[in-house]
C-alpha cells in the first residue's frame, strides 16, 4: 500500500496490510500521528491526541497479530468522541465543566474496542455536551470541514466526522441523540450509523438525553461500519437499557444485494426547506437502487413533521435532569471560594456551562415544571407514540425508508446564529431517535464540491438490512472513493 495513501485506506484494507506484514501496527499508528500533527492544526478535529497510549496499544496489537490471533480491528487506529469515557485520559465533552476530568473507568465501547485490538489516536471534538449541529458550541475550538475549511463539519460529532473524512482517523465512534452521527457524516461525505436504541451500551457515554442517546460508528466504507458494529454491539450488564439479545455478525449477508428489497420513499422528507438539488440526488439514488433490483413504493409519514418539536421538548427535558449532576463537588469545574453551597452551585454552573447548554437546561426545566408538564413533556411523549406507531406501520409495508440526511449541505462557520434555524438541520434525522429505530447516512454525490448524504431508516434491529442496502448502493457508486484535497 502506497505510503501517501495509507490514511485513506479502509479499516479492512489496513487490517489486511497488517496481517500481510506489509506494515506494522506501530508504523500505521505513527503515520496517523504524523498526519494529525501536520494537518489537524487546520481542521481542529482532535481535542486530545494520545501517542503514549496509542503506541502501547499498537505494541500489544502487534503481538496479537504475530501470534496469529488478530481480528479485523487489531492494530487499526481509531478515535473516540470526547464524550466517551476513557480511563486515565481526559474526557471533556468539549465543556469547561469537564476541562480536567479524568474518568476512573472506561466506557463499555472503549473497553470493547480495546479488547478488539484498537489503537487510540485521541479524542474527537464535539458541540459542548453534544448539544449542537455544527461543533461551533465546543468550549475549546470549532472543527472545520475538510472539504472546505470555511464550513462546519456538522455536529455534534463534528470532530469524528472531520477526522474520518480527512484521513486523520480510520474510524471514530460518535453519539447520536437527534442526528449527531448522521448529519456530520453527511456534511463530510462519509458513512455514519446510528444503531437501534439499546443495541450499543451507553455505559460511560456522558449522558445528554438518555432515552434518545445512542453510540455508533463513523467510517469511510459501509463494510467498516459493519466491522466496528461487530465489536461494539451487544448486551451489557452496566446499561439497564441495553437490549439483551446475542451479538450478530454484521458482515454476513452484507454483499447479498437488494433484489426484492422493499424501499419506501417518504414525500414528507422532500418538502419545504429541503434543497431541491439534495432532493434530486436522493431520488436519483433511489432510482439506482431500483435498478439494482429493489421495489420502490411511496409511504406517507405525516407525523414526522412534529418530530422536531417532540425532540426539542424531550431532549432539553432529559438534559436538564442529566446535567443536574454538575455541582462542582464530586468532579468538574468548581468555585470552592463561594460563601455557601447555593452560591457555589450557581457560580459553578454559570462558569462551567456555555450558552447553548444553559439554553437547553432552561428550556427543559421550563417544560418539566409544574403547570407546564402536561402541555409540553407529556404531550411530546404522546406524539412520540404516534410517530413510533407510524414507523411501525410503514415497516409492515417496506424494509427500508430512504430520505435525505440533511436539508442542506455544510454551511459556513458563523452563518447560522438563530437556534431555531440551527435546529432545522436535524429535521430528517430526529424522527429515528424519537422512534428508537436505526439509521445510516452514506454519501450520494456532491453539490458545488460539498458532500450530500443519503439516509436509510429501518425497523428496530434491522441494522443488517440497512448495511446490506447501503453496501449495494456504495459499491455501485464512486462516492466513497472521493476524498478532500489536503
Amino acid at each position: 500500500m502506497a505510503d501517501q495513501q495509507i490514511h485513506y485506506q479502509s479499516v479492512r484494507q489496513m487490517s489486511d496490510a497488517l496481517l500481510a506484514k506489509e506494515i506494522s501496527a506501530a508504523e500505521l499508528a505513527d503515520a496517523h500521528f504524523k498526519r494529525i500533527a501536520d494537518l489537524d492544526g487546520r481542521v481542529g478535529s482532535y481535542l486530545a491526541v494520545t501517542p503514549d497510549l496509542g503506541h502501547e496499544q499498537a505494541a500489544a496489537a502487534q503481538s496479537v497479530i504475530d501470534s496469529g490471533n488478530a481480528g479485523p480491528l487489531t492494530g487499526v487506529p481509531m478515535q473516540l468522541k470526547d464524550n466517551l469515557s476513557t480511563r486515565g485520559v481526559t474526557t471533556t465533552c468539549a465543556s469547561l465543566m469537564l476541562e480536567h476530568f479524568v474518568p476512573p473507568y472506561d466506557a463499555t465501547v472503549t473497553s470493547a474496542l480495546a479488547s478488539a485490538g484498537a489503537v487510540l489516536l485521541g479524542k474527537g471534538n464535539l458541540d459542548e455536551f453534544a448539544m449542537g449541529s455544527s461543533t461551533e458550541t465546543s468550549a475549546y475550538k470549532p472543527t472545520r470541514n475538510p472539504w472546505d475549511l470555511d464550513r462546519v463539519p456538522g455536529g455534534s460529532s463534528g470532530g469524528p466526522a472531520a477526522s474520518v473524512a480527512g484521513g486523520l482517523a480510520p474510524y471514530s465512534l460518535g453519539s447520536d441523540t437527534g442526528g449527531s452521527i448522521r448529519q456530520p457524516a453527511s456534511f463530510c461525505g462519509i458513512v455514519g450509523l446510528k444503531p437501534t436504541y439499546g443495541l450499543v451500551s451507553r455505559y460511560g457515554l456522558i449522558a445528554f438525553a438518555s432515552s434518545l442517546d445512542q453510540i455508533g460508528p463513523l467510517t469511510r466504507t459501509v463494510e467498516d461500519a459493519a466491522l466496528v458494529m461487530n465489536a461494539i454491539a451487544g448486551p451489557d450488564v452496566n446499561d439497564s437499557t441495553s437490549i439483551s439479545r446475542p451479538a450478530i455478525d454484521y458482515t454476513i449477508g452484507l454483499k447479498d444485494g437488494v433484489k426484492g428489497l422493499r424501499i419506501g420513499i417518504v414525500p414528507e422528507y422532500f418538502g419545504e426547506g429541503i434543497d431541491p438539488e439534495i432532493a434530486r440526488l436522493t431520488r436519483e439514488a433511489i432510482k439506482q437502487l431500483e435498478g439494482l433490483g429493489a421495489d420502490v413504493s411511496e409511504v406517507s409519514l405525516p407525523n414526522s413533521k412534529a418530530a422536531l418539536a417532540v425532540y426539542y421538548v424531550l431532549s432539553p427535558s432529559e438534559c436538564s435532569a442529566n446535567l443536574a449532576r454538575y455541582d462542582g463537588v464530586k468532579y468538574g469545574f468548581s468555585t470552592p471560594d463561594a460563601p455557601n453551597m447555593m452560591a457555589a452551585l450557581e457560580a459553578t454552573r454559570d462558569g462551567g456551562f456555555g450558552i447553548e447548554v444553559k439554553r437547553r437546561i432552561m428550556m427543559g426545566t421550563y417544560a418539566l415544571s409544574a403547570g407546564y408538564y402536561d402541555a409540553y413533556y407529556k404531550k411530546a411523549q404522546q406524539v412520540r407514540t404516534l410517530i413510533r406507531r407510524e414507523f411501525d406501520a410503514a415497516f409492515e409495508k417496506v424494509d427500508v425508508l430512504i430520505t435525505p440526511t440533511t436539508p442542506t449541505t455544510a454551511f459556513k462557520l458563523g452563518e447560522i446564529q438563530d437556534p431555531v434555524v440551527m435546529h432545522a438541520n436535524d429535521v430528517c434525522t430526529v424522527p429515528a431517535n424519537i422512534a428508537g429505530i436505526p439509521g445510516i447516512s452514506i454519501p450520494c454525490g456532491t453539490i458545488d464540491g460539498l458532500p450530500v448524504g443519503l439516509q436509510l431508516l429501518g425497523a428496530h434491529l434491522s441494522e443488517a438490512t440497512l448495511l446490506r442496502a447501503a453496501y449495494a448502493y456504495e459499491q455501485a457508486t464512486p462516492w466513497h472513493t472521493q476524498h478532500p484535497a489536503d
Binding site: 436504541y197 455557601n340 428508537g436
Partner: protein, 70 residues
C-alpha cells in the same frame, strides 16, 4: 426562549386524546435487575480522583445551612 417555546407549540395542534405516552421507544428495552452478587467497584482513590476539594476520604463542600464554613 420565546422562539424555542414557539417552535415546540405546534404539538398543541395534534390530537393525542387516549394516546399513551412513550418513554423509551424500543419494546425490547426494559429495566432489568442483575443478580444480587457483589462485584468489584471503584476504589475510594478512584472516586476521589477528580474531587475539586477533599478532606481525607471525603468530598469537602462549602457550608450548606448558613454562611459559615461547614
Amino acid at each position: 426562549m420565546a422562539g424555542l417555546i414557539a417552535e415546540v407549540s405546534v404539538l398543541q395542534n395534534i390530537d393525542t386524546s387516549g394516546v399513551e405516552p412513550t418513554g423509551h421507544a424500543v419494546e425490547e428495552v426494559h429495566s432489568v435487575m442483575r443478580d444480587d452478587i457483589s462485584s468489584p467497584a471503584l476504589t475510594v482513590a478512584d472516586v476521589l480522583l477528580n474531587a475539586p476539594r477533599r478532606e481525607g476520604d471525603y468530598f469537602r463542600v462549602p457550608a450548606v445551612m448558613d454562611n459559615g464554613e461547614g
